[in-house]
Structure formats: structure tokens, C-alpha cells
């Protein structure tokens, strides 16, 4: 087991990392994939020192504090900031527990789990399964592939350009915006109280769709969808194409908008040609 106590900007590298866990209060934590030696760059640190432990391939980075009391003290003085960047193998699972800190994660293919209260979560090209939870922080992502689970109370969720196998998103008042392709047999489940939901799907999408809202407006740009007369609230549902995937959106008062875009097929074919 190797252990470091870090209280100034530095760089540490490690033999091999099979899992990463970081508990940081304020600042920024970035995780990048690299096939070189795993490295921790500490570019800014204030407040408690960082405790870095590397044991049996598990890399753990924790800003030391004594229990909940320590957290409270930290919350009262959020000027303390720690900025770290960690490079690990791309398939390394990542767990980040943050308070006001932001998280930036790019290119990882393993399991990614991020919790932050008021920090923002930025995901780019993450192909593993993702679990992101925030209270007020925004979750912004592009180029995702695979399975995602997003929860936020008032933070906005946005996913641009991605391929979804499973997407589950819940918010109380946060807006939910997605522009993704659905894999065959993909499952999408979105729930919100008052957040606006705006989704765009390719024209050729094959999915069973159900959009329901108690009081919010529903608009859908697909011809295959029809309005259901329901005793309560309103619903737009139907089957697009063969109905391979499923899409459920449920809101209390948030508006739901489903848009379509031209198919990426033509572009895809071109891309495959080049290989």
C-alpha cells in the first residue's frame, strides 16, 4: 500500500489503477483516460490536505475531514478549493463524491458514478454506464453511449449527440434536454415535476412512445403519434417504426416536446466507407 499526504500542487504517478474513488468538497475534479501511467495532477489545493491511497489497484483520493462535523465546517467556508486532474485507463471504474465541486469526465468506458450537491457534472464521450446525481448542479453531456441514470432536483440535464441503450432521468424542476439516437431495444424513462422536457430523435426511430403530462403542454413532431383522450391529464402515444425501443416521458406540469431530425443514416454510411 502506498500513501501520500498532499498539501501543495504536485504530480504523482502510479503503477496501475483498476478503480478510482475521489471524495472532494470544493473545486474541480477531472478524469481523463490515458494508456500511459495513471497520474494525479494537483493544480490547486487549499484547506485540508489530500489523502491519496493506492492499494491493490484501488486509487482513493480524499480530502481529509472528520465526519459530518468536518463537512459542516467545510460548507461554512467554501472558499477552500481543490483542483485535481486524474488520468487512468479508460476502462477504470470511477466514483466521485463531491459537495460543491465540479466534475469533468471524458472518454471513460467503465462504470462512472458522480454525486455532487451544487457542482456541475460534465461528461464527454463516456461510453460506460453512468450514474450522476446532483441537487442543484447541472449535468451536461455529449457523445455518450450506453446506459445512463441521471437524477437532479433543480439542475438541468442535457445530453447532446449520443447513442442510448438505457436512459433514466428524473428531476423536480430541472429542464431535461436530449438529442440522441436510440439503440434497438433501448429503454428511456423520464420523469419530472415542473421541468421542461425537450427531446429530439432521428426520423427513423423505432420505438413505442408514451408522453404523458397532468398539466403540461405536449407537442410531438412524429406523424405516428396520436393524442389519447384520457380522463386525466393528457397523453400522446403510439408506435414509431417497428417499435423496437421504448420511450416514456411523464411530467406533472412541465411541457413535453418531442422533435424529429433527419436521419444520420446517410452520414453514417459515408463514415463507414472511409474505413
Amino acid at each position: 500500500m502506498a500513501h501520500w499526504t498532499v498539501d501543495e500542487p504536485t504530480k504523482i504517478d502510479f503503477d496501475g489503477v483498476v478503480a478510482l474513488k475521489a471524495n472532494i468538497v470544493a473545486g474541480t475534479v477531472s478524469v481523463l483516460p490515458s494508456s500511459d501511467r495513471p497520474t494525479l495532477h494537483v493544480s490547486e489545493i487549499s484547506g485540508h490536505p489530500l489523502e491519496v491511497t493506492h492499494r491493490a489497484g484501488m486509487l482513493s483520493i480524499t480530502q481529509k475531514s472528520s465526519g459530518v462535523e468536518g463537512v459542516l465546517r467545510w460548507l461554512q467556508n467554501t472558499r477552500g478549493r481543490t483542483s485535481i486532474t486524474i488520468t487512468v485507463p479508460e476502462d477504470c471504474p470511477v466514483t466521485l463524491n463531491l459537495v460543491t465541486a465540479n466534475a469533468v469526465i471524458t472518454g471513460m468506458s467503465g462504470r462512472v458514478s458522480v454525486r455532487t450537491a451544487s457542482g456541475d457534472v460534465t461528461l464527454d464521450g463516456v461510453t460506460g454506464s453512468i450514474d450522476a446525481n446532483t441537487a442543484t448542479g447541472a449535468i451536461e453531456a455529449q457523445g455518450l453511449a450506453g446506459s445512463m441514470n441521471f437524477n437532479s432536483v433543480s439542475g438541468d440535464l442535457a445530453v447532446a449527440h449520443g447513442v442510448v441503450e438505457r436512459l433514466s432521468a428524473q428531476s423536480v424542476s430541472g429542464r431535461i434536454t436530449t438529442d440522441v439516437d436510440l439503440r434497438d431495444a433501448a429503454g428511456v424513462q423520464i420523469r419530472t415535476v415542473s421541468g421542461e422536457v425537450t427531446m429530439r430523435l432521428p426520423k427513423s426511430t423505432s420505438a413505442k412512445v408514451a408522453l404523458t403530462s397532468v398539466g403540461g403542454r405536449i407537442d410531438a413532431a412524429f406523424d405516428g403519434l396520436g393524442k389519447d383522450e384520457r380522463p386525466v391529464g393528457k397523453s400522446v402515444s403510439g408506435t414509431l417504426g417497428g417499435g423496437a425501443a421504448s420511450l416514456n416521458v411523464n411530467s406533472v406540469s412541465g411541457a413535453i416536446t418531442l422533435l424529429s431530425r433527419p436521419d444520420p443514416e446517410a452520414l453514417k454510411r459515408e463514415g463507414a466507407h472511409d474505413r
Binding site: G57, T85, A117, L123, P231, V252, T257, L259, R275
Partner: protein, 239 residues
């Protein structure tokens, strides 16, 4: 696109990658993505013409193996690389130092994308409502008793939901502050996860070209048996 490559540096880096070993174009692209932490993803349209140019200049040559062009460095290419060794070392240094900048760039890039996506979708939604396509539904004005009940039901659901989130947050805190390091148990679970993922990927890839009913049935049987045996013989959780 990241500004890491200016002034013919991509060219230099291509030579370096081919010096390590002969490679085909797609491999070069993948290695570049790797090296630039997924931030710089060169398209085939960027790389192939450059490889062709290097070939014209006599710095690389190619042979066709299994239908793929495999590029290798020529002596002239090696000499060129030798001559620019200092520049290459400098480039490597910058790449290492730029890790932090890359993270910042990723953040800005994703923010920009999300911002413009929101604008685009807002605009598209407005257009759609103007045209009023089939399926677009209008606001219902009436409010019935049943509607009120539905509101109440939804409110209850979210109250529960909030409670469970709060609970979860408490657990997160205990997690975050009590456990500084992962245990052996965690490490094993991680490895198990990885093995399972690899298995799924392999089988999915192998079955990409379609399955008939019989293949599907046999696969199912085999999977069920495997799962049962793992649980009973190895994990002893089957009852």
C-alpha cells in the same frame, strides 16, 4: 477540435506513431484519440489524406494486408523524424502539461454544445408549434375532480421520491467521509463487472449479423445454465 496540432505537428506525430510499428489508418486514428484523452478525435477525412501526402513525399509506404492498407515508415521518414527529435520531445512535453487544459477545454466544449443544442431545439419547437403537425396536442383547459386526484397522486410520488433522495444523500455522505479507501471486496467486484461487460461485448459483436430463432433459443439455454452454475457452484447463492 483541439488546437494541439499546429504547424505540421500532426504530420510529425503521424511519423512517430508509424515509427513505433507499421499500422493501418484506423489504428492511427484510435491511437491519436487515446493519446489525446478522447478530446482530439481526428476523422478519417483528416488522417487518410495526410498519410497519402506523406507517401507522396516518400516518408512512408504502404502494403495491402487483408484488404487494409498498412503504412510503414521509410528510411527517409526515419531520417526526417531523427532530424526533428527536439521538436517531438517538446511536443510530448506540451501534451503532458496540457492535460489540465484538456479538461477545461472539454468542459467548455460540452457547455457550448449544450447551449447551442438548447437554442436549436427551442427554435425547432417554436417552428413545429407554428406549423401544428398531426399529433401536437393543445392545452386542455378543463379541470375535473379526477385531474385533481391525479395531481395529488403525483405530489405524493414526488414527496416519496424526495425523501428517498434525501436518504440516499445521507448514505453518500457516510460513504464519502467514512471510507477513505476501497476494500479487497470492492476490487473483486470491479473485476467481476469488467469480466461480465467483456462477455456481453464479445457475444454482441459475434451476433451482429443477425440470429435465427434456433440460435437464439440455444444461446438462451446456455446462458441460463451458465448463470445457474455460477450461482450454485461458485457463489453458492442458489437455493
Amino acid at each position: 477540435m483541439s488546437p494541439v496540432f499546429g504547424h505540421g505537428r500532426l504530420r510529425l506525430y503521424l511519423l512517430k506513431l508509424l515509427e513505433e510499428s507499421p499500422r493501418h489508418g484506423y489504428e492511427v486514428i484510435r491511437l491519436l484519440q487515446d493519446r489525446f484523452l478522447g478530446v482530439y478525435s481526428p476523422s478519417p477525412g483528416t488522417i487518410y489524406p495526410r498519410l497519402a501526402r506523406l507517401e507522396e513525399e516518400g516518408l512512408v509506404t504502404h502494403e495491402v494486408l487483408k484488404g487494409k492498407k498498412v503504412y510503414r515508415l521509410t528510411d527517409a521518414g526515419r531520417a526526417e523524424l531523427e532530424r526533428r527529435m527536439d521538436e517531438l520531445a517538446e511536443l510530448e512535453d506540451e501534451l503532458t502539461e496540457s492535460v489540465r487544459d484538456i479538461a477545461r477545454e472539454v468542459q467548455e466544449d460540452v457547455r457550448d454544445t449544450v447551449r447551442s443544442l438548447r437554442e436549436e431545439l427551442t427554435h425547432a419547437a417554436r417552428e413545429m408549434r407554428k406549423q401544428g403537425p398531426a399529433g401536437a396536442s393543445q392545452n386542455l383547459k378543463e379541470s375535473t375532480q379526477r385531474q385533481k386526484d391525479e395531481w395529488r397522486r403525483q405530489k405524493e410520488y414526488w414527496k416519496d421520491q424526495k425523501r428517498s433522495w434525501k436518504e440516499e444523500w445521507r448514505h453518500t455522505w457516510e460513504d464519502a467521509w467514512a471510507t477513505a479507501t476501497g476494500s479487497q471486496d470492492d476490487a473483486a467486484r470491479v473485476k467481476m463487472d469488467r469480466a461480465l461487460r467483456k462477455f456481453v461485448e464479445e457475444v454482441r459483436e459475434a451476433s451482429q449479423d443477425g440470429l435465427d430463432e434456433e440460435q437464439l433459443t440455444r444461446t438462451r439455454e446456455l446462458l441460463a445454465e451458465t448463470s445457474k452454475r455460477i450461482r450454485a457452484e461458485i457463489l453458492h447463492t442458489d437455493d
